[in-house]
Assembly symmetry: C2
Homo-oligomer: 220 residues x 2
């Protein structure tokens, strides 16, 4: 069975996946950029910027594992871009330039219809207006037997966890305190009991935690 | 100047310092005991149980550092014991037997008066009914130039953080998900911005984070 996976989801030590006051000019909220500095220091992250330097240790290895075996991605609209409400035009094509790093079908959750968007390198963005479960079902089909990754952001991951839809959860705790923002952990007891810690590993920058849902858990 | 310090304060990965449904038979709430297993595996923790085995690595060293230079302790009533409301009698003398591991004055926050309680080994419990700041002031005086440690529990530490009273904060993230309980991180942006990460270090069991308040921070 394909698994639904979350990888490299960064949270502050106090549990926020984005800072407060998210908006077009501050898409990750105040202080939210601090959650991703560890990524941009790696060879993986530097390659996204077209550079060939960067670290190749623990963090880089976790980033590469997050892509392995993934055949489709689901993400919230805010992860796709800063545009809110109806798509006023179709000029926004994501944060990632003409050749996004997915190289497979990406299903973007939105309330507003928009035609699919075929990019270079094998990435096609599809806009799904009927909710998370239908998006996951389409992604599973598109993945052709590979796994499906939920890319983020915090609200999408939190919702997926609360609904028991995530099989494999890798979170990265960044040692900063944001004090406010969008919580990842806000399920009030609804979900975590089915998950077991599989691995945890610290780098100089962050600590990685991977949880897996027990195959015979109730919600599975 | 003496510093107000928090040490070895254990939180689950999802930010809870105690599980849900705390009560006399489950003083740390459901699942809360999982937050302290790392401690009882160390030589420091084993010595509290009268044993001379236990690990002597990273976790043990952090536990010993938490005691160094501390001349008095402040704690919430729930950390002192499970009794609620007025002290029906004075038979409860803490969780720690006749010779508690403090060996100095301990100020217990409570709404109900009770005479001080002198134990073996230099520990005296004082019961403070006029709030956290007066308790800290008395503790600073009793510490005679050494630092004051806030022992816990979660509510006391959270309140102290929200009021800007903590100079040095060492939290221990335990890789379990409790899903509900008493949050440590619930200050809604009021406090963390003055704190800088000083150290973080992982053991096989947990990850340690130490934050210090900038000496010229507003609330200091």
């Amino acid at each position: 069975m394909p698994r639904i996976r979350v990888h490299c989801f960064s949270v502050s030590l106090d549990g926020f996946g984005a800072g407060p006051d998210q908006g077009p000019e501050d898409p990750l909220g105040v202080g939210g950029h601090l959650l991703h500095e560890w990524l941009f220091d790696t060879a993986y992250g530097r390659a996204m910027a077209g550079e060939d330097d960067g670290s190749t240790g623990v963090d880089d290895a976790w980033l590469r594992r997050g892509d392995a075996g993934v055949g489709a991605t689901v993400m919230g609209r805010n992860m796709f871009g800063p545009v809110r409400g109806a798509w006023s035009d179709e000029s926004w094509t994501g944060w990632w330039g003409s050749d996004p790093p997915f190289h497979h079908d990406v299903f973007v959750l939105t309330h507003h219809e928009r035609p699919s968007l075929q990019m270079e390198g094998g990435t096609t963005f599809h806009f799904v207006t009927d909710g998370l479960e239908p998006a996951l079902a389409r992604a599973v089909e598109a993945a052709g037997g590979l796994d499906v990754r939920i890319g983020g952001g915090a609200a999408t991951v939190r919702t997926a966890l609360a609904r028991g839809l995530v099989d494999d959860l890798h979170v990265v705790v960044v040692p900063v305190l944001l004090g406010a923002g969008e919580r990842l952990w806000d399920a009030d007891g609804a979900w975590p009991h089915d998950y077991a810690l599989v691995e945890h590993e610290a780098s100089d920058a962050v600590t990685h935690y991977r949880f897996a849902r027990s195959p015979n858990a109730g919600a599975a």
